[in-house]
Symmetry: C2
Subunit: 150 residues, 2 copies
């Protein structure tokens, strides 16, 4: 498989963590995401803006998906991968599945107290697109950052 | 219970159906929503804009929640009710729960082929807000409109 992204997953996860850092500097929650093309180009970034936007949907993955679709003029992100520092919520998981992302990589795992559906559960239940899901890239670093910024 | 909205649930559901009509006229999917205050004032409307916005998150309920939070400068819609013509998807259900809406009324039920979580399932699983959910107001009329517009 000749995919520029595969050699650089840690790099992209770190870019997502940098977005998370910016989100906190702006007064929001510590989450960031990036979307990457098959050639390895970052085509969209997103970070949490819930507090400053007064928008409960302004999550990192949501904002990255919206930016990518707007930029590309498409509703189908099949050739793209999304990287995010934390475990996606059910809202973001659903929109990522709807957008048909090829793969989703995330760092910190879900906590044991989570009751709402995980990305993995929603991909399993989807009757449409089923992105491959990779949890654990830079997991310790991403978890430590979340603890520090929260 | 002295709540202006209770006497007018069919009226608000019809307003949501009018939004759905507008969505289709604009080239989008047949879904509309309105958010109503305790005194019965419509404080936000939303309709599907997925195709024209190139935005997979541009659903009726999502757009209504975003508009209401922006207008009120809040993340907490606890005193508000949302009316929508069709069954909310998992994305919209999650953001409606996150926004703490007091009640959600919808018309047409989910189809038997649905595999993704319903609003009812997500409310049941939520460890935070639990809006009351009412399905079936103008159900036949809303279902017939969906069939006609789809």
């Amino acid at each position: 498989m000749s995919d520029e992204r595969l050699d650089n997953v840690e790099h992209y996860l770190r870019l997502a963590m940098e977005e998370a850092e910016r989100a906190v500097q702006e007064g929001n929650h510590p989450y960031g995401a990036v979307i990457v093309s098959a050639s390895g180009a970052v085509i969209a970034t997103g970070r949490n803006g819930v507090n400053t936007d007064h928008d409960p949907s302004s999550h990192a993955e949501m904002n990255a998906v919206r930016a990518a679709c707007r930029r590309l003029g498409t509703l189908a992100l099949n050739d793209y991968w999304l990287f995010t520092n934390g475990p996606p919520c059910a809202m973001c998981a659903t929109v990522m599945i709807a957008a048909g992302l090829g793969a989703i990589w995330y760092g910190a795992p879900s906590g044991p107290e989570r009751t709402m559906p995980t990305l993995e559960e929603l991909v399993e239940r989807s009757s449409g697109a089923k992105p491959t899901v990779h949890q654990g890239v830079l997991a310790e670093e991403a978890s430590a950052q979340l603890l520090r910024l929260s």
